[in-house]
């Protein structure tokens, strides 16, 4: 079967700073200047108070695995060659936001719930770099 190209994020005008951030090795989220809510995924306005006074802040890049799965069969076409690979929801505990990602740089079967992880960046195309996570180095 021909290998299909990986889908790139379908970005919007207000999310471009996020993708510019990942290109430069930074994981950004938004902070509402009015109510103080940390906003992720990026929004036009704060999803709590509707304020457009949102500023971009750099994340610690540290989180924990909330849930995960190792994809072994029946992946979407573009990901068949990657199997087995890990899809996970990571909680950024300090920022109180969560995101879908892949856990990389480890044996997929070593991933566990609540495992500490840290962000790494994987270039997908000239325009898009994806934030992924690896087991956190012991600190």
């Amino acid at each position: 079967m021909p290998v299909k190209p990986k889908p790139v994020p379908v970005a919007t005008a207000w999310t471009m700073p996020f993708w510019e951030g990942t290109r430069n090795g930074k994981l950004l989220y938004q902070k509402c200047g009015d109510c103080g809510t940390n906003v992720f995924i990026p929004r036009i306005a704060c999803s709590r108070c509707f304020s457009e006074n949102l500023e971009w802040v750099e994340s610690s890049g540290r989180g924990t695995v909330f849930s995960f799965t190792v994809v072994e069969n029946n992946a979407p076409s573009a990901f068949i060659a990657d199997m087995p690979f890990v899809i996970a929801i990571v909680k950024m505990e300090e920022e109180g936001v969560q995101m879908l990602t892949n856990i990389v740089e480890c044996d997929p079967y070593e991933v566990r719930c609540d495992m500490p992880v840290e962000v790494v960046f994987e270039k997908l195309s000239d325009e898009f770099t994806l934030p992924k996570f690896r087991p956190a180095a012991s600190r």
Binding site: V10, E72, I87, Q98, L100, C113
Partner: protein, 394 residues
Amino acid sequence: MSDLKGKVAIIGIGEVPTGRFPEASAIYHAIESARRAIRDAGINKDNIDYVLPCGAVYSPPFNTELITGRVVEELGLKNVSKNCQVFSGGSTSSCGIDIAASLINSKAASTVLFVHADRLGTGVDLQGGIDLFATAGISHEWEVPFGQHYSSIAALAMTRYMYETGCTDEHLAAVCVSNRKWAELNPHAFFRKPVTIEEILSSKVLSTPLRAKQSNMLFDGGAAFIVTSAERARDITERPVYLLGEGGIVTHFVYSQEPDITRFGWARAAEKAFGEAGLTAADMDIAEIYDSYPIYELIAFEELGFCKRGDGGEMFLRGDTWPGGKIPTTTNGGMLSQGHTGGGGGVAILVETFRQLMGKAGERQVPNARFAVETGTGGTYMDSQVSVFGTEIP
């Protein structure tokens, strides 16, 4: 309160078997289901004045035809004032009945035909189906680029739920076994051979811990029902099925943004639906729960109040949900055994709810069933929808 309690009733149901029918078009399934529903109600077809076709996930030209009146023309309906598509994925069942009921209660309609059909079994191959559903309802910016798809979505809920509650692989397999016990008695179900926990747990892993036999299968099929006012229903049939309560909560679009993938909005939706009906889970004779994957059936079952969180698996395992059990659950076999026909997989579960309450469920009839709860959930489990029905108004 939506004030719909006891105001409307279902008077007829129709369904075609679920399976692979390469020779039949989606319109065949739609027309045949609708025709059966009209015959079942025993009404003159020209009394139908409002048609609500359910959107098709796959079958784009058919979708367009649904919207533009094909069902009305094929059935030769002469007094239809409005034809309007309804679609909220797997929650089309609960949302559809709510809309039909609201139209009747507001006098915008007197008799509504709701009809679903799709061709997910023969319209698309397996990899095509995976690819289609790996983009349908999944964020193209935040999840598609990471390989998210429906198996991984179910697996993410399973992993966390099992971690938090101690639920085992056997418990989740038991949900499939329970549904299959019902499907063995359902001539419209695709999978009708008995299945064991061992067989399920030895099937190939799709996304850990989800296995192939814990996954719904895409098929062709159709289902329809007819709704009218409670008052009119009593003149038409001796056993109308009343809508008693409705509750729903839309929680998310991007799955990873839902803070609780082990509960969703079920408890809130159930509180509203049961509250409106003036009943509780303990009053229910049947639970008809949307089951595209066993984890979602189990979570909804528990959050509706049939047991404490974490205790549901044991109930499915020991037979409480089986034929003859104390709370018969998903009695058509669900999408795990009857098969998943798109938005209509939920409509089939809704039609089964009516069938049981009407006393027309044949071999799998739950004796003396008076009250039943039905659930639906659309997209990547974006919403939790709960409906309560009964043969009497408490």
